[in-house]
Point group: C2
Chain length 594, copies 2
């Protein structure tokens, strides 16, 4: 076999220093222009774009080849690097001072006409982009996203490798042990009627690694969640998973910061200041109404309850008497019409509030509001002072249970104040999360997962609804990038958590018995974290959704328009797995096929 | 929250230089010995082992704590590093010159009595080891295997990162497009009755990346094959997957060598000579009877056919007349009894041969053999010369079709000559594989996969049974570590390959239509490879099977004795997926449960 030679250098690597050299380059025809018989081609590969000059009389290739050259043809060109001359320099192009005067051209692959233009400025339907993802990825912005993702992961590894973390691969065909979201199930062929699950995270395996004596572990881990798709979720996603023994919260947060600093440096060229701000969960909720605050802008929530200790306004008085709270934000000068204000009220109602009080600050400092007449002058003055009101400002006040007030004001604050881009990169840590989430019916669910250590076991048992855990999150510009915790390393505490959650001992044994057993053989104290890579890269790339930084994502309904997955399979294959498609599903197919 | 402090340094990091320092260490109690009232504990963590001296009178911990200390308890100890004194130095221990005289001891976790001893010298049933994998991994040899795997992967990344390869993650929930082995299927919930497949390899996605303009790609990829388990296969496994555009075979082999050299250097401290030997497939088969030759020993196959052009021995004459071949090896002085020789004959028959001719070289150079009487003196002398026979040598000759002769002699050669350990590391490349494997019924199957480029399209169409492809393998000590090829980048050639394989155009469109479409939009010439990481690390660690280097492997029947997967799941969950377990499987459960 003779090896094919397609190139001796790359288009984007050439410059004025190469003038006079004979080189061979290969890539895609980005554009083709004819000027007075001469053909100019912009040749593109991953390094950049180079102008090729093709003189039909120079015998570089048969005329029909030159005249047939179209966009996205793959060609290999040999020629001499020449200076363009000052008047022809293209300052928009890194190689704009030179061009390649071709002596030989070979078409390596033709291209059909494209279904859409490969131009970052052209807006293309996402369905079409996903169907032709291999073309979409040729666009410079998408190529940059692929590169950014690789760069981010490399930065993570650099930090962790330098600290002696061991990279360990945990299995992806695991036992089904529901952690919250639905497991993705995989039927076993050798054991018919039995199922593996794809992991929601390597949580239990990384804890087993700690029990195994691995001191520091990390993995870039593929994880799976079968959720009803929301805008920003994928059935498979990637996280940086890490865990350490004899490790406490502060140690973990330190490493998380180092990772965030390294990734931001490599992707954005920004050196972030350390340490990152740290808020307790309570403080985050009080000031921002959310556990993932965006602190790039103010508009903080103020507690106004004290102003209304003896108010005549029944709506506020009733809430306070019931143990509720009255809080507000100053949304600034929004200049909303009455219709706009009504829309805000509707939004508050849809978020679960019983009402939203709006007040517009008049030029004389007085408050224009449907409820102004119920508020005393002192109350109005108190509100204005607490919210630092200035003429034109819109003040929004909610009276309700703490959780409702936080949810509504937190959401309104984001809607009215959050900056659009991500020019400013603001990381922060939220700590001391509650142990449990309390449902409307009083039921308890783990706020993180049931392997999170409580701050205090007695407190957890006696007042689970308010008990703190040793869990923490990292937040970037108002988005949660990941969460972690100090884990439970004592099997008795683990059993107690299951008990408080209302999981019977029998059920706990059935679902987690093997893990509870493992805890009995000398488990070191340990802690860890998981960083969502898709989200982190998409925010740092200033992109609206994670699909932009996933090479081959699925749609929100879990389909891949490129390959057509998921698809039907032969009955014979299912027979080998010991499963059948349910009769009503098969009945539904007739309709689908019609 | 106050951060817990468990350690200020690590047991294995201490030495004579630390004498006099007060330190805190944490880890597992490896052994505990009582000597004249003093308790000696060997404390272990991932860095090593340190002797701790506990004087019950020193108030380090309550007496019941000291007396209760057992193997694998997790403890944290503060104390002063002391010299052991010359007479007590333990030369077997890296920290053997010192000990830690404890002033404070805390038990962080107790341990139940162990199901087996954590000692590399103790042979434990593999089922038990897998059930308690977290204990098994504490054994020094297993901890070293985890470390070796991480080291190997890091070396691979170092080589590829330095050459500008982009790490890209391809999806793991893909379309089912059978590549040879059975797909692992995953039922979709949002599209009931439809299935994803887990990838057998990222083959088509990495080719899409080339079409996308990614110049050099790699990924440490999890792959899945639902095979009937053999000794050395897992349902999930890991490969280093790589691909490049405008790349030819020699470029790929160069990078593969660099990777092998880097990994071997980091794991074994050996600097391998380059370039590695390269054999064509034909040469490998001719000389060693296999496409994954172990060249650490001779015993090469010799073609004896020419000796028997006019033989009277009908068995040989018939084979040669039918286009077959007569070949032999000199197995050396094996000293086998008649029973031993009969066993060899049986083995040859079970491998598909019609017979095996053995000859033992007598002291006078004559051949003792059941067939000696059928062979002329010249033929016997010819055999002796061709096989360099010396007194005592065992010569083995097979007459059959080339494929059978190669299979039988190749297997006998390995059985009789292959060295046991892996002290010597011998990589080699095998190139120019045939395009297709021809079945006994004349049917064709791809030797690698149907995306492999033929050496010559006309040859492939006209004589597919003998046509060469542009595929290559890398072999280490007689094991195939991975394979690759120059790919097809021309959609017409791709269609032709499907045609030769007997895949109808309709079927090709159904299974690979989306990929054939992609080839039409400017596909660069490209080539690539996949390295089996499990196999590579296990051989370099001199281990008999890949399960030793997989943190949490499954048994040969795909079970995980640790977590009990695969397991049965709730009917409700299956209902959501639109599938049911087949009635006959459910019927079988009654028996299983009994």
């Amino acid at each position: 076999m003779t090896a094919e030679q397609y190139r001796t250098t790359r288009p984007g690597l050439l410059g004025a220093a190469n003038v006079g050299q004979t080189v061979q380059v290969a890539g895609w025809v980005q554009t083709r222009r004819d000027h007075g018989g001469i053909v100019f081609v912009d040749l593109r590969d991953a390094t950049g774009v180079l102008q090729i000059v093709l003189d039909p009389d120079a015998g570089t290739a048969p005329e029909e080849v030159l005249s047939g050259l179209r966009r996205e043809f793959v060609i290999s060109v040999t020629g001499e690097v020449a200076s363009r001359g000052e008047e022809h320099v293209n300052p928009d192009l890194a190689t704009g001072e030179i061009e390649l005067v071709a002596t030989e051209l070979r078409v390596l692959s033709p291209s059909d006409p494209l279904p859409f233009q490969l131009d970052d400025r052209v807006d293309v339907d996402e369905g079409l982009r996903l169907q032709y993802r291999y073309l979409d990825l040729r666009r410079p912005a998408m190529a940059a996203n692929l590169q950014a993702r690789s760069t981010a992961i490399r930065a993570m590894r650099r930090v962790l490798d330098a600290q002696g973390f061991l990279e360990v691969e945990t299995p992806t065909l695991v036992a089904s042990t529901p952690e919250g979201a639905r497991d993705v199930l995989v039927p076993s062929r050798l054991r018919q009627g039995h199922f593996y699950a794809l992991p929601q995270s390597p949580q239990l395996f990384k804890q087993l690694l700690m029990i195994s004596g691995v001191d520091r572990y990390y993995q870039i881990a593929r994880c799976y969640r079968d959720e009803d798709f929301r805008a920003d979720r994928q059935i498979e996603f990637t996280q940086l998973d890490l865990e350490g023994s004899f490790w406490g919260q502060d140690d973990v947060l330190e490493v998380l910061e180092e990772i965030a600093v390294a990734v931001t440096k490599d992707l954005r060229g920004i050196e972030l200041a350390r340490p990152f701000p740290r808020l307790t969960w309570q403080e985050a909720m009080d000031r921002f109404g959310t556990d993932k605050p965006d602190t790039r802008f103010g508009m903080e929530i103020q507690d106004l309850s004290d102003l209304f200790g003896s108010t005549e306004f029944k709506a506020f008085a009733g809430v306070l008497a019931d143990g509720g709270t009255v809080r507000g934000i100053n949304a600034g000068a929004q200049g909303l019409s009455r219709a706009g204000l009504d829309k805000l009220v509707e939004q508050a109602l849809s978020l679960g509030a019983r009402g939203l009080v709006w007040m517009v600050v008049e030029d004389d400092g007085s408050l224009r509001s449907p409820v102004a007449k119920f508020l005393s002058d002192a109350e109005q003055a108190g509100i204005s002072e607490a919210l630092a009101a200035a003429p034109g400002d819109l003040l929004l006040v909610v009276a309700d249970r703490f959780s409702v007030v936080s949810k509504v004001l937190g959401a309104l604050r984001i809607d009215m104040g959050q900056p659009e881009g991500h020019d400013e990169i603001t990381f922060l840590m939220v700590t001391d999360f509650p142990m449990f989430e309390v449902g409307d019916d009083g039921s308890l669910a783990p706020m993180h997962h049931p392997f999170t250590s409580p701050e205090d076991v007695t407190e957890m048992v006696e007042s689970p609804g308010s008990a703190a855990s040793r869990a923490y999150d990292i937040v970037l510009n108002g988005a949660e990038l990941g969460s972690g915790s100090v884990r439970i390393h004592n099997p008795d505490v683990q059993a107690k958590v299951f008990e408080v959650l209302g999981i019977t001992a029998e059920d706990a044994t059935r679902r987690f018995g093997w893990f509870m057993d493992a805890l009995r053989y000398g488990t070191p104290p340990h802690a860890g974290f998981a960083y969502g890579i898709d989200r982190m890269v998409s925010i740092l790339q200033d992109l609206p959704n994670i699909r932009e930084v996933i090479p081959f994502p699925k749609t929100q309904t879990g389909n891949d328009p490129l390959t057509g997955s998921p698809s039907r399979v032969e009955d014979e294959q299912l027979g080998e797995l010991g499963i059948t498609v349910a009769a009503d599903v098969v009945a539904g197919w007739a309709e689908e096929d019609a």
